[in-house]
């Protein structure tokens, strides 16, 4: 029979490592319902129960260096079915936050850094942004029934402020039109900020609370500055 210390280094086990985690990981009864519910179970040897167990055992390096927290979509099905109500998606996010920032996979941290520095994930300059909005606005105005349509940028006292998902001013400008047409038809008094307009908040994905707070704070500042009461943030 294989002895436990042939599978793993038992000296690494330390229940104190994640004592500050408030996600109830030590309540796990290892029933495996989370793993049955998870669409990513089986990929790269992952299932949510194993990750919860790693955390409970205090195996920090294995958890933080693993791809597991990053291939999880934090969809919350596991938590929904968990009989012990373990906060698995929050736990995943907390483990992501412990990854060194230059080792965050893909463009997530780079995009977030650009957003903190420039106001949007693309680093798109203000004049280019305004040009794109006005250009798309002119296209709408050429359609029958939308005569006179314009994009109200930085409008004081509007009823609704909208944010913009960066892909809509990058590769998917056609998709800017849907909400704008609805606003036009409904006679809505709306506006969009000329800078700091980013509607995505990748700190949610990288576990970066400070960055999230900064991004949200910018939207709140717009609302104060422009005296807008309602926010439409469909990202």
């Amino acid at each position: 029979m294989t002895k436990p210390d042939e599978i793993m280094d038992l000296s690494q086990i330390d229940h104190g490592v994640f004592r500050s985690f408030p996600f109830l990981q030590d309540h796990c009864i290892t029933c495996g319902i989370c793993s049955s519910s998870c669409p990513v179970s089986g990929i790269d040897g992952f299932d949510p129960r194993k990750l919860v167990r790693l955390i409970s055992l205090g195996m920090k390096d294995e958890a933080v260096d693993s791809r597991w927290p990053w291939i999880c979509t934090m969809c919350g099905k596991c938590q929904y079915v968990c009989p012990m109500d373990i906060h698995i998606p929050d736990l995943v996010r907390a483990v992501r936050s412990m990854r060194e920032r230059d080792k965050v996979p893909g463009i997530l941290h780079k995009g977030l850094e650009a957003a903190i520095r420039t106001g949007n994930n693309l680093g798109l300059p203000k004049e280019d942004f305004i040009f794109i909005l006005e250009d798309v606005g002119e296209e709408i105005a050429e359609e029958p029934g939308f005569e006179g349509f314009t994009v109200p940028i930085d409008k004081d006292g509007a009823n609704i402020l909208t944010t913009i998902h960066n892909k809509l001013v990058n590769t998917h400008t056609e998709d800017l039109k849907h909400w704008w047409k609805i606003f036009y038809a409904a006679g809505e008094d709306w506006t969009v900020p000329s800078d700091q307009w980013e509607g995505t908040n990748w700190g949610l994905f990288t576990g970066d609370d400070q960055a999230m707070k900064t991004m949200v704070g910018r939207i709140a500042d717009h609302m104060d500055r422009l005296k807008v009461k309602n926010l439409l943030w469909p990202e």
């Binding site: 990053w70 291939i71 999880c72 934090m74 969809c75 938590q79 893909g106 849907h178 609805i182």
Partner: protein
């Protein structure tokens, strides 16, 4: 977002032409508007989008399972941008099976991540013909403009 669309429709501020799309459609619950919103804010937006769907389409069916039991599209949590694309595409298999089982030619989603993921992976599952549409795009498409 749902509440705003509902307000416009209920107050008669927009009028919709329900006959525009006769394709069989289905609706996908994003995790963040549904299951996670219910958990975090005490209210999951399950009924609201379905009411909007009823105003837009004569012919649509739910996926199975749905609402709190809905499968994630596989594009959430930043997975569109981690570079782990094989994993993300594999993740979406259950979603595509669900959609295929309804026979729908159009799936309506109220989420940028779900929209990007479904459009990106449909070819991987032989479903190039599937139309992936934002809920607000559906509303905009069938606006009656006087």
């Amino acid at each position: 977002m749902f509440d705003l669309l509902i307000k416009y429709i209920r107050e008669g501020r927009i009028t919709l032409d329900k006959s525009k799309y006769d394709v069989l459609a289905t609706y996908h619950d994003p995790c963040n508007y549904g299951r996670k919103a219910e958990r975090l804010f005490g209210h999951g937006f399950f009924d609201e989008p379905r009411w909007v769907m009823d105003q837009c389409l004569e012919n649509w069916v739910d996926l199975y399972p749905d609402r709190n039991d809905q499968f994630c599209c596989g594009g959430g949590g930043g997975t569109m941008t981690t570079g782990y694309n094989e994993e993300r595409i594999y993740y979406g298999r259950k979603k595509m099976e669900q959609i295929k089982a309804t026979g729908a030619g159009m799936v309506v989603v109220p989420c940028h991540s779900c929209h990007g993921q479904l459009n990106n992976i449909k070819k991987e599952y032989g479903m190039e013909e599937l139309t992936v549409k934002y809920l607000w795009e559906l509303v905009a498409d069938i606006l009656v403009i006087n």
